[in-house]
Amino acid sequence: MIQVDGLSFSYSKKLPSILSEVSFNIQKGEFVALIGQNGAGKTTLLKQLNGLLKPTRGSVKICGMDTRTHRTSLLARHIGYLFQNPDHQIFCETVGSEIEFGLKNILQDEDIINERIKEISALLSLGDKLDKSPFSLSRGERQRVALASVVALKPDILVLDEPTTGQDYRECMEIMDIVKGLNDSGTTVIMVSHDMEVVAEYARRTIVLRGGTVAADGATPDIFRKTDILSSSNLRPPQIVELALKFEDGFHTVVTAEDMYCEIARRCGK
């Protein structure tokens, strides 16, 4: 689904590389977190995936299409991008027209478009907000509007740049549960996040970026046990992993409170 091969990138020849020799493949249906400290190249890498930026060396292929030879608008049908700040992507006067905007570019039949708006607004609990201005809504609701306009196009791949910033926990869970639902029905998800608890609870695979290179790539429970790599990236594992690592066996693959509870209950014979 996504093939990144020897990707290097710098904004100009005079500037140092922001990404160097980055390689990984992502299969259909994966849920991947991209973590690393500020300036590690996370957002730059995301922008390579939808063709907003093109490789200086190496290649990026999305559904078999090389980003250097395919237009960004064509890639956009396969890859949806949710920016960190919803206000950077919302611009229409009503929630309904915001969701409609992208659809009009790929669909002709008005009935199908309206059907799709109805379906998406129900999925994101925006059904009663279609006539409202997005800017009269709360930050969490605006994030849902931005997500709705991306998801309406039914992309194969969903790219999220810190989807939970600036929201309270309940709003954060709402967004993440919607994303999880899409992933369960086959959408490939790649997410940048600083919140290790969110990474632990949702991402099955984690890639650590450090200084523009891949420092680690693997199953999330394994990555969170590589404490030397995490600390050299100024990251700390989630609280439950810190607890698990105090035990000799490291509680195997435990990463969430639910995992830990189940493992303790199992050991107690329940």
């Binding site: 969490g140 910033t165 929201q167 303790i264």
Partner: protein
């Protein structure tokens, strides 16, 4: 230091009060965290402490708010700002000059601080905010965390007794957020500054705050020592608060009859809890 009695406030053009019958007394030298879902009234409460409500954001105001003995209705923001420093979510919206030391001088100039005194205050507040090395830097080229620290230095240059912060780490990465809290703890411990902070990162906040206040729908629903408040894990989860995962774990264990003791609030206490449970099984 802060005395809020029976405060109810409703913004103009709003159909319901943002704050309902709030009573809150904060002692000098306290480090108080305010948590709760969005729309609970947390920011409005901070605006009532620094005088933004009712002087800039107006509405129907009932009850009384006194800060350092000054009634916030009778005293304007100019007077209050010598006693209460404010730091907001987005440092960009607060920074007005292009060089760090000018930014700090700006607030002092507004209060006719003598030149010699100004020099002293700038040096002192940069040091207190851990950014002496940034004194001559352009504000535009700073990282988010550095900008937020400039906002803190600017606020403390006026030597306020109270520092009120509204989600100061929301735009920062984990390292930047942790270091802001270390600076706040130092201001609290070494300089006795009273800290009142609204924060979504409950795990980080609870490491530093002495007292936690939980708000919901304009009211204070829980108020106590940080450890005591965290023990109400079910209530916190129900309110949609991101409580420490060890608290969540203890909640699951006690709900299923595996644990009866006190709720742990950090990793070390959780380790003791889990070891005890496993030992009892053997």
């Amino acid at each position: 230091m802060i005395e809020i009695d029976n405060l109810t406030f409703q913004y103009n053009n709003s159909d319901r009060p943002a704050l309902k019958d709030i009573c809150l007394h904060v002692e000098k030298g306290g480090f108080t965290g305010i948590i709760g879902p969005s729309g609970a009234g947390k920011s409005t409460l901070t605006y009532c402490i620094n005088g933004v409500v009712p002087h800039y954001l107006t509405g129907d105001f009932y009850g009384s708010v006194r800060v350092c003995g000054l009634d916030t209705v009778d005293n304007g923001c100019m007077v209050l700002s010598r006693h209460v420093g404010s730091v907001f979510q987005d440092p960009e919206s607060q920074i007005v000059t292009s060089v760090v030391e000018d930014e700090i001088a700006f607030g002092l100039e507004n209060f006719n601080t003598p030149y010699d005194e100004m020099e002293k205050r700038i040096t002192e507040s940069l040091e207190m905010a851990d950014i002496s090395h940034l004194r001559h830097r352009d504000t535009a080229g700073l990282s988010g965390g550095q900008k937020q620290r400039v906002a803190i230095a600017t606020a403390i240059a006026l030597r306020p007794e109270v520092l009120v912060l509204d989600e100061p780490t929301s735009e920062l990465d984990p390292e930047g957020s942790a270091s802001i809290f270390e600076t706040l703890s130092r201001l609290n411990h070494e300089y006795g500054m009273t800290i009142v902070i609204v924060e979504q990162k409950v795990m980080l906040l609870s490491k530093h705050s002495k007292r936690l206040i939980v708000m919901q729908d304009g009211r204070i629903v829980l108020d106590g020592m940080t450890r005591e408040v965290l023990r109400h894990s079910e209530k916190l989860v129900e309110l949609g608060i991101n409580c420490p995962r060890v608290v969540e774990l203890a909640g699951k264990l006690s709900k299923n009859g595996l644990y009866q003791g006190d709720c742990p609030t950090d990793v070390d206490e959780a380790y003791t809890m889990v070891t005890d449970i496993l030992r009892r099984q053997k």
